[in-house]
Symmetry: C2
Subunit: 119 residues, 2 copies
Amino acid sequence: MTKPQHYTAHEAETFGDEAPGVTIRWVIDEKHGAENYAMRIIEVEPAGHTPHHTHWFEHENFIIEGQGEVTVGDEVHPIGQGDVVFVPGGVKHQYRNIGDTPLKFICGIPMDWIKDARK
Amino acid sequence: MTKPQHYTAHEAETFGDEAPGVTIRWVIDEKHGAENYAMRIIEVEPAGHTPHHTHWFEHENFIIEGQGEVTVGDEVHPIGQGDVVFVPGGVKHQYRNIGDTPLKFICGIPMDWIKDARK
């Protein structure tokens, strides 16, 4: 898949009750031939948040728009457009929208998540 | 490194003559503990372009702002805000700014590039 596509061309999946107001789009993954890393775009509605959870793999984030907070371990940091976040594997984390508009960010994870997801 | 940082906090490096008007910032790499994937942010001034080159590793791109064209193999595609591009490894490619404002995009590559760079 080499033709560029707008990210909204990919289906927005919901997370469920543990992530109110959150959708995720898998914009680069094995469908596109990616062997190393997957790119997802996560959108969080105002007052919404992702699960406060942990897993063995890291996250690489770029904030596209909106105002939020990221919890990494015991620390809470403000995040906004243009910020870059690296969440190491094995650290509990959560993203929260504290603004009035959608919080949108890129969230990259290693393709090895597939092995994890299929355990 | 878990504290978020604005991408402009990272040094903008130039490419040289083969990439006029282009800067690159390594916003996530081994300095942050990334073992799998590096995130760079590339900015191309109007009329600027990246090298028309090839390498064994892929690119994963998200267009932050601006108007451009990406050449992937024999194909040329328009790119703009919100577009996602996957450039497979081993395919000749180039990014070109065709607008009047900077073209800014994320460019992810596997951390194995380090092994390649040190050959």
